[in-house]
Structures are given as C-alpha cells and as structure tokens.
C-alpha cells in the first residue's frame, strides 16, 4: 500500500509473497494427493450404494439417513464413549501422577521406569494386541497370577465375557496411552522453575497441592495435546478390537471403526461403510476443535 520503492509485486510488509507458495507446493501436493483427494472420493462414494465391484447406484443422502437412524450403530458408538474413559481419562490421570513423581523426586532409576512406561508406545498395536490376548486367556498369566494370590473368585475369561471384554480391551489402551501422556507432562513440568515448587513447599503446600497449584497450570497446553491425541486414538480404535476380539463376544466390543471395515470390506456395502467413516471423522474433528477452543480460552 505504502511502499513506493521496490517492485510492484511486493505487497505490504508481512504479506506473504507468491514465491512462498512454491516452497509449500511439494507438501501441498502430497497432502492433496493423499489426504484431500481420498477425502473427496470418500464423500463422493458416500452418495452411492456400491458393492465395490459393479456399477454403483446414486442414493443421495440415504446413507447418511441410515447411519443416523440405524439402531444397530448406536451400540458401537456407545462403546467408543466407554473407550474414551480408558484411552483418555485414565492415561491422563496416570500420566499426571507418574510425571509428577518422576519429575521431581529423585527416584532411583527414574530413567529406566520412564523408558519402560513409554515402551508400549513404540510397539506396533497388532503386536500389543496379540500379547494381551495371551495375557487375558482363561489359563493365561493374568488368571494364573490371580489364582496364585488365592483370588480364584476373580478369574475370568476376560475377552470372552460380555461384562469384561470391553474394559479388558480398554485397559490395553490405558497401558499404551499412559506412557505418551507421562512423557508429554514430563516435558511440560521441566519448564517449571524449581523455585516455584520450593516457594510452595515453604508456604506449607504438600505434594498434591503443589501439583494442583504449580504443576497443573503449567501443563495446560500439554494436557490439551494429550486429550486431543488420546481422544483420537480412542475413537478410531480398530486394530486392538479386530485382533483381540473381532468385535465379540457377540457384539460386545464392536466399535465404529470396526463397523467401517465390516460394511465396506466385508458386507460389500462400500458407500454405507464410507459414510460411517465420514461421520466418525466429523465427530473426531469436532471433539478436537472443542478441546483446543477450551484450552485456548483458558490460556487468556
């Protein structure tokens, strides 16, 4: 607007120059090819009744109507809510506790424990699932342990009973997620000057009060990140369920992502399966936006 000198192509200070897009282009191209285009394709497919092989039939919004009115889909979405507790709430709580213990107190071998707790995060979920399947077996290590403690009454066919199966799958999510949360919170806590804790201690605050008044406010950002990551992990869970229970016993552990697989790849109703996937995507997006909005608002 102002600048008389320089070339005409240069805009106001701070205004991006056209050449900037050139730098973005490679990433943008990859994004468009592997993210945007499949998404557009998915939206397009959701308007069709299609078996994946022959020519599809245009059905307009029928698939969406079906997804929102199908009573059979309520169960899997309900299961996803339960998994939120195990994948998100529990790991964040455990992560907070573990982080505040190992960050400040001089625990012997803290590094070792941190590594052990973080380890599940780097193992492929399928491997995790297979290992836990064996742990949960009727005569597996978990039940053996309970029997050794004389707690025979507490043994279960964990993955084979409707009452325990979903929680059993969920706890594996807790086991995996806790490490991630802990490492995030450790990083956050390391920014807090030690003096703050010392001051709080001098004022007579115990460990819990210190965490509440000093640690937590400093962790706001990290908690938002942890919630976002774990909520996404909870809602899109597929591998754990598919490998551990195939949605069973009965339909007790079916989750939305399992339904996506079931309808689009197994029952030959690609359009319907894709619609469930899109609804799930929208839901995840919504949750993430809300979490971040709330976190940002608190920041001010």
């Amino acid at each position: 607007m102002s600048a008389g000198r320089g070339t005409a192509t240069r805009g106001a200070p701070g205004e991006p120059r056209a050449v900037a897009y050139l730098y973005l282009a490679p990433a943008l191209l990859v994004w468009a090819l592997f993210m945007a285009w499949p998404l557009i394709r998915a939206v397009w497919l959701s308007f069709y009744e299609w078996d994946g092989l022959s020519v599809g039939t245009w059905v307009g919004l029928d698939n969406y109507v079906a997804v929102f009115t199908d009573p059979e889909l309520r169960e899997p979405f309900g299961h996803a809510l339960v998994l939120l507790f195990f994948f998100s709430v529990l790991p964040i709580l455990f992560g907070l506790v573990l982080a505040s213990i190992t960050a400040r107190a001089d625990v012997r071998g803290a590094g070792f424990f941190r590594t052990v707790i973080f380890l599940p995060q780097v193992v492929a979920m399928v491997v995790v699932a297979i290992a836990w399947r064996q742990i949960y077996e009727p005569s597996g290590p978990l039940n053996d342990g309970l029997r050794a403690l004389g707690l025979d009454g507490l043994t279960h066919a964990w993955l084979g009973e409707q009452a325990t199966a979903l929680a059993a799958v969920g706890l594996v999510g807790t086991w995996v997620g806790t490490g991630l949360c802990m490492v995030l919170f450790l990083a956050g806590l390391s920014k807090v000057p030690r003096e703050l804790y010392e001051a709080a201690a001098l004022d007579g605050a115990g460990a819990l009060r210190q965490l509440w008044h000093v640690g937590l406010p400093a962790l706001r950002g990290e908690i938002a990140v942890a919630i976002t990551l774990t909520v996404v992990a909870a809602l899109r869970t597929f591998d754990l369920v598919y490998v551990m229970t195939t949605g069973g016993p009965g339909t007790a552990t079916r989750v939305p992502a399992y339904e996506v697989w079931r309808w689009s790849l197994n029952e030959g109703r690609v359009g319907y399966g894709v619609t469930i996937a899109l609804v799930l995507t929208a839901l995840i997006l919504l949750v993430t936006v809300v979490v971040n909005q709330v976190a940002e608002r608190g920041e001010r």
């Binding site: 939206v43 078996d51 022959s54 039939t57 066919a157 084979g160 069973g248 016993p249 009965g250 339909t251």
Partner: protein, 450 residues
C-alpha cells in the same frame, strides 16, 4: 482475508465433488456380461498360443500345498516353453482382500483362487469379472473329474444370485471338511469306541466329563470356529437338504424350524453340562487346537486342514472321523473344497489358463498333493497312504460318495460372515435364547432370499 480464502476452498472442493457425481463408482469396468467360451471354440493346443505370460494368484502358502503347486508350475512351463507362469502367493486373508481390488482394476491376473462364498466369488460373478468354465469343462471332462458336490460349491447362476447351481466358475485342488479329531489313547482309557451316532457321542461326552477330561477342546475368541461347532450339531439334527439350502442362501428352508431349534438347544445343553473348554469364548482357535495336540481334550471339532499340525503333536494317538449321525441316520458333514481356481474375464489367454487349470487338477497333481500330506479333491483310491491320512481319505471318500457335504453356513448371505459368528457366541454365552438366535438368522435369510 483468510476467512474468504477458506470459504472459496470449500466452494472449490464442493464443486469438484459435484463434478464427480457425473460418473458412478465402478463405472470404469464393463460389468455384467462375462465372455462365454463355447466348447467348439476352445483351443487346447497351448504350444500354438505364442509367448504367453500367465499371472496366477493363489493362497497355497502352507508347505503341504505350496510344494506340489511349485512343482506343477515348473512342469507346466517345461512342457510349454512358450508359457511363463508368474505366481503371486499370499495368505488367505490377504488374498481375499486384495483379489477384490485386483480383479476389478483393469489389470487383473489371469487366474485367481477365489473364495467360494457369496460375498467373494458370488459378487465377482454378478459383476461379470469371472469366466464361466462350462465350455472348458466339456472339452476337458471336468464334469466327470469332479463330483457333483464339488462342482456345486463353485457354481453360480450368471447373475450371481443362485449359489450351488448354474455355471462352473472354478476348479479346486484339495478337499476339506469339518469332522471330529479324537485322542485314541484317551478313548481307550475311558473305555469308549469312536461314537457313530449322536446318542453314543453324547454318552461319550458325559463319560469324558465325569472322568475329569475336557470332552470337546474348543476356543471361540476368533468367532468363526463357533460356526463350525454349530454346524457340526446341525449336521446331526437337521435334514441335509435344509442345511444345503440355508448354507447356499436358497429359498425353501427356514432357520426357525423345529430341527434347527433342536440344534441350538443341544449346543446350549452341551455348554451347560460343561462339555467345552472352560472360558471357551476367551480362548483363541490356535491355542485350543494346540492344547488338543498336547493331549488336553478328548475330541476336537475342526477341519482336515489341521492334519499335519495335530499329527506332529499326538502322533499315532490321533484319530479322525465323520460327524456321528442323528436319529435319521443320514450322514452330513460341513465341507467343501479348497479355494477354487478361476479365470478372470480380463484374461487375454483364457484357453491357456484353462489348460493350466486342467494341468494342476490332473491325476498326477493329485498324487503330488497326497504325497505332501494333503487331501486331494479326487482320485483318492490311487494314492498310497496309511495311518491318519488314510483315515481322513476314507472319510472324505465316504462323504463325497454319499453326497453328504453341507456348505459352510457363513457363505449364505453377504452379512452372514459377521452375523453368524457373533450370534453363535451370543447363543453360547446365553445372552440370546435359541429362539432369539434363530430369529436373527431367519431375518437375514428371509430378507436375502426375499
């Protein structure tokens, strides 16, 4: 500014999406009319076909099947130097998922091993992606080579709607069936003979239970083994023709019949009496047969495909028999062939592909499969086998001679492959009554058969 840009992006995306709606998915391939080959047009002289590359997708990865197929491929190429076989081998699960994409991609393999089920071979046929083999069957005499039962499980009507009859769309190499494996040492200990009738079988189960043994080794965490177990009981209680209709998804039978009710109730009774492994719904399929191979359990209801694995554990103590018969005395056994080899519509050399199919299902091929410890689909009488493989051969011969094979129940409708396993679990953990169980299956069956 940014807001405007975002909006224009959305508009652009929406416009792009709308533009796409002009063409329907799957519109690229010309589905509907698969090319037919009349017997009179078939060229059996492979050598005159010029240089040909035949791409073959199979799932014969287990050593017992991989070896004979490898040898056969090599021999075929030796006999016809103008032909190169490009073999792509994957596990059953992987193949099942990838064939779907490959076969409709416009660059399909020439020969694929396609799962018989309605959701697989059935939908390929209805989309016009596989060739009818009727002309070739006439030329090569496949109708004499393979029994009626064997051909039925690879047969569909041209629109893919009727399963079990119509045109032939594939030929198999091996047979398989769900019978009863038993531990001979344990039967001796308990003083019981291999039971021939359902009554004897239930008595044997009671004796085993009383002696503190696991009567039937069973693990259903993977969901599908339960379908075999239900089918096993059903084979003893329900008329064979009804099971065939239900399994092929043909009209004329009913899940809510009194015989099916007996089957469901019997299964629940067995659960109540503790005839199955404790916590069977939390136990995987592999750990369950592995336990049986280690000597835990008197009976194991499962398929002939376990022969090699069970034999390496139990040795001479391993026995195999057909399901006992119920009141009617009619033998019925869930069974079928290994996955049939089919020729795709897009194959440019269907005559060469057919010659290849004829070659890998020849008598010589059957001998190779038998030698590798497998169960060839025909010509069993020519094979030199003994011990447990011999018992298995006898059982298969009896089953096919009496046309006693009943289809896998989860073939029936597209939905039944996930519906049936889940419903059987609900029946067995008693969250569904036999009536509710059968009604759920009837609803699917009725809506499918119309």
């Amino acid at each position: 500014m940014t807001r405007f840009r975002a909006r224009s992006l959305v508009v652009a995306a929406a416009t792009a999406a709308l533009a796409l709606t002009a063409c329907a998915p799957g519109g690229g391939s010309d589905g509907g009319d698969a090319p037919q080959r009349q017997a009179s047009d078939v060229e059996t002289d492979v050598a005159s076909a010029g240089d040909v590359t035949l791409t073959v997708w199979d799932q014969e990865v287990r050593s017992g099947q991989d070896k004979p197929l490898k040898e056969l491929n090599a021999e075929f190429m030796e006999q016809y130097p103008n032909v190169t076989i490009k073999r792509v081998s994957r596990s059953f699960d992987d193949l099942q998922k990838q064939v779907r994409l490959a076969i409709s991609s416009g660059d399909a393999p020439d020969v694929v091993q396609a799962n018989n089920a309605r959701a697989d071979m059935g939908s390929f046929v209805s989309a016009g992606l596989l060739r009818s083999l009727d002309g070739y069957a006439e030329v090569y005499g496949w109708n004499e080579r393979f029994g009626a039962d064997v051909r039925a499980v690879s047969s569909y009507s041209e629109d893919g709607k009727t399963f079990g009859e119509g045109s032939l769309y594939g030929v198999p190499l091996t047979g398989e069936m769900v019978g009863v494996w038993y531990n001979k040492a344990k039967l001796d200990e308990l003083g019981i003979e291999p039971p021939q009738t359902m009554e004897d079988f239930e008595a044997a189960l009671a004796t085993a239970k009383e002696a503190g043994e696991v009567p039937i080794q069973f693990g259903d965490l993977d969901q599908w083994p339960g379908v075999h177990t239900f089918g096993f009981v059903q084979n003893m209680t329900v008329p064979r023709d009804d099971i065939v209709k239900l399994g092929f998804g043909q009209a004329g039978a009913s899940w809510t019949s009194s015989e099916n009710e007996t089957a469901a109730q019997t299964l629940v009774d067995w659960v109540d009496r503790g005839y199955f492994t404790d916590g069977f719904l939390g136990l995987g399929y592999d750990p369950s047969w592995q336990s049986f191979a280690k000597g835990e359990g008197v009976f194991l209801v499962s398929g002939t495909w376990l022969l090699a694995d069970l034999q390496s554990g139990l040795g001479d103590d391993l026995g195999f028999m057909l399901p006992p018969t119920g009141e009617s005395g009619e033998l019925a056994v869930t069974g079928s062939t290994g996955l049939p080899f089919a020729i795709t519509s897009e194959s440019e050399n269907p005559d060469v592909a057919a010659a290849y199919l004829d070659f890998i299902t020849s008598e010589d091929a059957m001998a190779k499969i038998s030698d590798a410890g497998g169960l060839p689909v025909y010509d069993l009488e020519s094979q030199q086998v003994d011990g447990i493989q011999g018992e298995m051969f006898d059982a298969w011969t009896t089953a096919t001679d009496e046309q006693a094979l009943t289809p896998y129940l989860d073939w029936a409708s597209p939905e039944s492959s996930t519906l049936l396993p889940a419903e059987v679990q609900k029946l067995m953990d008693k969250s569904a009554s036999p009536a509710e169980f059968l009604q759920a299956l009837e609803d699917d069956y009725a809506s499918f058969t119309g």
